[in-house]
Amino acid sequence: MDLARPQVKGRRTRGAAARLGLVAVPVAFFAVFFAYPVAAIVARGLHVDGVWRFGRLWDVLGQSDIRHVLWFTTWQALASTALTLLIALPGAYVFARFDFPGKQVLRAVVTVPFVLPTVVVGTAFLALVGRGGLLDELWGVRLDTTVWAILLAHVFFNYAVVVRTVGGLWAQLDPRQEEAARMLGASRWTAWRTVTLPALGPAVAAAALMVFLFTFTSFGVVQILGGPAFSTLEVEIYRQTSEIFDLSTAAVLTIVQFAAVGSILAVHAWTVRRRESTLRLVDAARTARRPRGAGQWALLAGVLAVIAVLLLLPLAVLVRRSLDAPRFGYYRALTESDGGVFLVAPIEAIGNSLQYAVVATLIAVLVGGPAAAALSRRDAGRFVRGFDALLMLPLGVSAVTVGFGFLISLDEPPLDLRSSWILVPLAQALVGVPFVVRTMLPVLRAVDDRLREAAAVLGASPWRVWREIDLPMVRRALLIAAGFAFAVSLGEFGATVFIARPDNPTLPVAVARLLGRAGDLNYGQAMALSTVLMVVCAVALLVLERLRTDRTGEF
């Protein structure tokens, strides 16, 4: 015992050093490219003439139209979350418990909206419910500039979050536990309520919180579908900074959003930890079976109908609109430089986007990989777990703030990146990292520590241990993570719109610009470009679906 002690201590110090080494890169990255720019733009708003003006906080929050924005942000997020759960939970059940032809493809298809850029989602819904949209043509129904368009687009966007988070776990719950309860005399409802629901609860809570987070910070959807009367916090930060130029109000709103998102993430981290506890999981392949009886078939049909109307229809309308001109006219127009909207042909945006996304993916993997490795260590303490939540922050902090922060803080030596192309991938990588971490973490945690220890005892260096033990096991997860980072980088809009140089637009920026111009040709080109973007994202996702083995991940 006495002899063992120094040894354990030695191992702990080594562990701590290794942990520090792994955390160093992500911490440095987030300090320089997230914390510093955000702090700089907030300071620009609140630090006036050498004095901090925190009193602005109360001034701003006291204004009735700002309170209106806060109220709308919250209630539309709550309504969107409730509606998403209501519509997607049956879907989660169907995907978890039923076996039917085409299920794998359909699972990938329902995930497509989630990786679609919000600009495309907005465009698709505009084509469906906007002026001259499908509903307008058929029945004269228009929902744009109403809150319904926003809510439906949010459901469209987040359906996959619920299906994947809840359905993934549901598929792995052992159905025999519920059956046992029924054999002991419990009714179907009681059995479900006392056995399955408590097991699912944390997953439902986690999914609900993610949906709430995404809808609370909604930007592109509200911007395109909402019209001037609706404004979420994120949209208001954009308006205050970019249009009204009231930097102090924007700074206050940024702080408010930061606090709200921080609390959501804290609760989320807590539910995730609860979910990871003590559930008896089985292979998902064994729990699904063909539907039996009229009720189950009806449920399956209902879910498929919802998917068809709510998820596939907007996408189909988008594609259809892009083909309205004869002989692929809108697509061919993309290759022409008109000197009007852009100085280059819109098609060049595709090349820009792909280049940026590849670089952003590399950065996200290089930053997120070590972070996930550090988080997965069993000796990871409270500090590292807190770091986990911090890594998620970029998902919820205003991309607009980040974009403006980049512009004003990274413009002098030693960090004079203002006119460098790397600025765009750096900002995009910020949103990619959380996806990398969340995808890699479960897999890394599943690697048996004893394997690493055995290798170490046999004299392998930490680098060698990682290469020989970890890497082969996580290579697949790494690819999936990279794929997600790639898809979200491709679709990133809020930050890119500020820092992409006007002569080097990305796909989403080009779509938004085309939408902002009048005329059939511009609208058609926006639809065509959105379709291109959608296809690229869908292909990336279908490839991932083939690679994916583990379904407990969150995305």
């Binding site: 009735s64 139209d65 209106h68 002026r131 001259g132 019209g227 001037p228 009367a229 308006r239 900074t241 970019s242 249009e243 009204i244 130029f245 009231d246 000197g339 009007g340 909207v341 100085l343 792909l354 280049q355 940026y356 590849v358 670089v359 993916t361 590399l362 403006f404 512009l407 004003i408 413009d411 002098e412 004079d416 203002r418 006119s419 460098s420 192309w421 790397i422 290579r475 697949r476 690819l479 990279a482 500020f498 140089r501 006007p502 002569d503 610009r513 902002g516 111009r517 009048a518 005329g519 059939d520």
Partner: protein, 363 residues
């Protein structure tokens, strides 16, 4: 496993190739990175910037500078971004700040002094900042309510002629305007009402306008080309508002862009609702190519550019004696008595007015 490995190698290889690609594309033909003496001069402007190709080519040939243009969003956004990035600007010259936002640019030190060649030829009413010459006026135009002639003759309704008319029951639910916080004509219209009804009266006027069913959309494109029933775009989009806040030069544009050209403009201007805007250019404070920037500003005020501009951007020249296209005088003569406002007064009240307007009209 073999395939996966290949994919990894491929992905990394691809990454390096594109990295190299990005790097090289950055280096070529880009004057912003390299220091003084550059032969490239960069103009930062808004989306509406336009010039005839041959006119620009002639300037490039004569001056020896290659002009690079960065169009950066609508007028307000472009100004704001230029202010935020003034320590390390994206270009050398900024064109497109108008009298409604001028104070924001000047107070934030966006521009440095330069007296353009030919500034003596600018009509006196457009001259500002005469002691420091930080900005040079380039063009002017009037924000006015436009009406759809066909609608009013079909409905045997007299078109409105003034701000007062717009709140009358006869014109209920007919007007569409732009968000004053996001759109330059929207702000111009708000300032027009403030000039007309005064600091105390404009809010009352807008309450009446709101009660009379004014519709607000975010931008000019949407208002004019989708909601307005009189424009070519609006007809196609089945727009149903026969009154829109636009420009005095919109009717000639409807004629010039129509094929075949109609004998008369399909739209008209509501005379008593105009507000005068002037657009300025300036040499950015930390311009890397100040010499080129000066040459470019001289060019903007030159006779050639001033005569070329109206048909490209649908604005009027500020240079005395500059030729105005005959379509302009024929289909949309400049407003006789537009509302105007001192830049200092705009500077003092603009933000408060926009804020009150937002609460009053949008929320």
């Amino acid at each position: 496993m073999g395939i996966t490995k290949k994919v990894t190698v491929l992905a990394v290889g691809l990454g390096l190739v594109t990295l190299a690609g990005c790097g090289s594309s950055d280096g070529s033909g880009d004057g912003s990175g390299s220091g003084g003496g550059s032969r490239t001069v960069t103009l930062v402007s808004h989306n509406s910037w336009a010039v005839s190709k041959d006119v620009l080519a002639a300037f490039e040939k004569q001056s020896g500078y290659k002009v690079r243009v960065l169009k950066d969003g609508d007028a307000g956004q472009a100004v704001n971004k230029a202010v935020l990035t003034k320590d390390n600007p994206q270009g050398d010259v900024f064109f497109g700040v108008d009298n409604t936002l001028l104070s924001r640019a000047l107070d934030n030190g966006l521009f440095q002094s330069y007296e353009a060649k030919g500034s003596g030829k600018v009509a006196p009413e457009f001259r500002v900042d005469q002691d420091k010459h930080r900005v040079t006026p380039v063009d002017t135009g009037d924000v006015c309510v436009n009406y759809d002639k066909a609608y009013f003759s079909e409905h045997k309704l007299t078109p409105p002629t003034s701000f007062d008319d717009l709140v009358k029951p006869a014109y209920k639910d007919l007007l569409v305007t732009e968000n004053a916080s996001t759109s330059s004509p929207g702000l111009g219209f708000l300032l027009g009402t403030a000039a007309k009804y005064g600091d105390d009266g404009w809010q009352d006027y807008w309450k009446k306008l709101k009660a009379n069913g004014v519709k607000v959309v975010d931008g000019w494109e949407q208002a004019y080309n989708e909601e307005f029933s009189g424009s070519a775009g609006g007809k196609k989009a089945k727009g149903d508002r026969p009154l829109v806040v636009s420009y005095a030069s919109s009717p000639p544009a409807e004629v010039i862009y129509a094929d075949p050209r109609p004998s008369d403009a399909p739209t008209g201007v509501v005379e008593g609702t105009c507000f005068r805007q002037v657009e300025y250019a300036g040499l950015l404070s930390n311009a890397k190519n100040a010499e080129g920037g000066k040459a470019l500003i001289d060019f903007l005020l030159s006779e050639t550019f001033q005569a070329d501009m109206p048909m490209n951007m649908f604005v009027y020249p500020v240079r005395e004696g500059a030729q105005v296209p005959k379509e302009f005088t024929e289909y949309g003569p400049a407003a006789k008595n537009p509302e105007t406002m001192e830049p200092a007064k705009i500077a003092a009240h603009r933000d408060d007015w926009v804020k009150s307007w937002t609460s009053l009209v949008l929320r």
